[in-house]
Symmetry: C2
Subunit: 213 residues, 2 copies
DNA sequence: CATGAAATGAAAGTAACTCTCAAAATCATG
DNA sequence: CATGATTTTGAGAGTTACTTTCATTTCATG
């Protein structure tokens, strides 16, 4: 499952420790909390897993858990691909139609996260389907992404990012992409997420006509 | 603000009471809880309003409040236009393009709810913007609506309502429509919700091209 | 190693919900 | 209208996520 915090070469003074001991400890704690949470959820399910248990397994106090993550759902969901997505999107040629740019970016992002940690992507989608609170938080974070998407769409269409049209487009895309994730989880993760996403972007670009395969 | 529970002709034995005393009381209680909630929220804001206060003002016990509404957010948001929307959608001619059908239905629904109780529509949109928990619940209920929308889209395009394409389209529409509501609230409810919705449906139908006004 | 700053833990508190059970209100009868 | 069955309510105790406060520990730095 989720990689352990690989304590690679714990004592090689000059090479790794660009960060102070404090910073490194914080990162470790964060990881510990997250892996403890994932493990407990797999064992017992989301609801049955309390913050106290998480704290105990991660060997920190409950206070500390809350200091690192504002809510229980955040432990599962937090991690920011957003900046990456935005950067990637800006990197695409400016004259490329925005839908194509988006396609490329999503492909890249999904490939990356799949290679990085395939389990987590699945667990999240699964919890998104099963647990309303997680789904909510998921949606919130997608909404955040939607705000970034506005900027990108605005740049590429010469519109105001705060215009109704841009906002609606961005949010419609977000809604569609979220549904892809739900669909994927509900259908036992069959048919690579990347391909599903592709199909979703197609239908959002060209609209839903009568069936034609 | 919200209409009082108009006790019209409180004692006309034969004409109104098709329902037993029990049923009528339940309806009254429900209304009482809701109006108490709206009033308190207006006075103090959402977070500062506790279930205990609501119970007190509605003259019921906190237990009863929870018996009527599973969560605090539901007190604000519950009420089902969904069946109406679906019926309306089915009532449209079967050969009408589904986007047109949807346009008509949304117009009808918005006009109705605006005439029915304009305050509530605004309060909800406003809380949807301000309070994350409400926004979440709002989104959940839109998701529900999205499921119905699947059926309608499937019927009109001869596709499987559970297909990725249909699901994504439905959810994209939901996302877009939700954004309209947020936009409306954030821009001080200017530019009738109906017209904004119209513009949103347009852009979702034809896509977001370069600006052209 | 001393001093200041940051991170942690302990503890008490709040508020949304859940569960259980007994009392009260309604309903269906004879 | 009395009575027993059924439904609805309220009281109370319990759980848990989250907050706030404050003393203690841990690290950074001169």
């Amino acid at each position: 499952m989720t990689r352990m915090t690989a304590a690679q070469s714990p004592y090689s003074p000059a090479d790794r420790p660009r960060l102070g001991l404090r910073e490194r400890k914080k990162i470790k704690t964060r990881e510990a909390i997250r892996t403890a949470t994932y493990a407990l959820i797999k064992e017992q399910g989301y609801d049955a897993t309390t913050i106290e248990q998480i704290a105990e397994r991660a060997e920190v106090s409950p206070s500390t858990v809350f200091r690192y993550f504002p809510t229980k759902e955040d432990i599962v969901l937090t991690d920011e691909y957003d900046p990456l997505i935005l950067a990637e999107l800006r990197a695409r040629p400016a004259d490329e139609p925005w839908m194509d740019a988006l396609r490329h970016v999503m492909r890249t992002a999904l490939d990356l996260s799949e290679r990085e940690d395939p389990e987590v992507l699945r667990l999240r989608a699964h919890l998104g389907v099963q647990v309303p609170a997680v789904r909510s938080r998921y949606f919130e974070s997608m909404t955040q992404t939607g705000r970034l998407l506005r900027e990108a769409l605005a740049e590429r269409t010469g519109r105001d990012p705060e215009s109704l049209e841009v906002r609606v487009s961005a949010m419609a895309l977000i809604g569609g992409m979220m549904e892809v994730s739900m669909y994927w989880a509900e259908n036992d993760f069959e048919g690579g997420l990347r391909d599903l996403m592709e199909r979703a972007l197609d239908v959002m670009e060209h609209g839903l006509g009568p069936e034609k395969p």
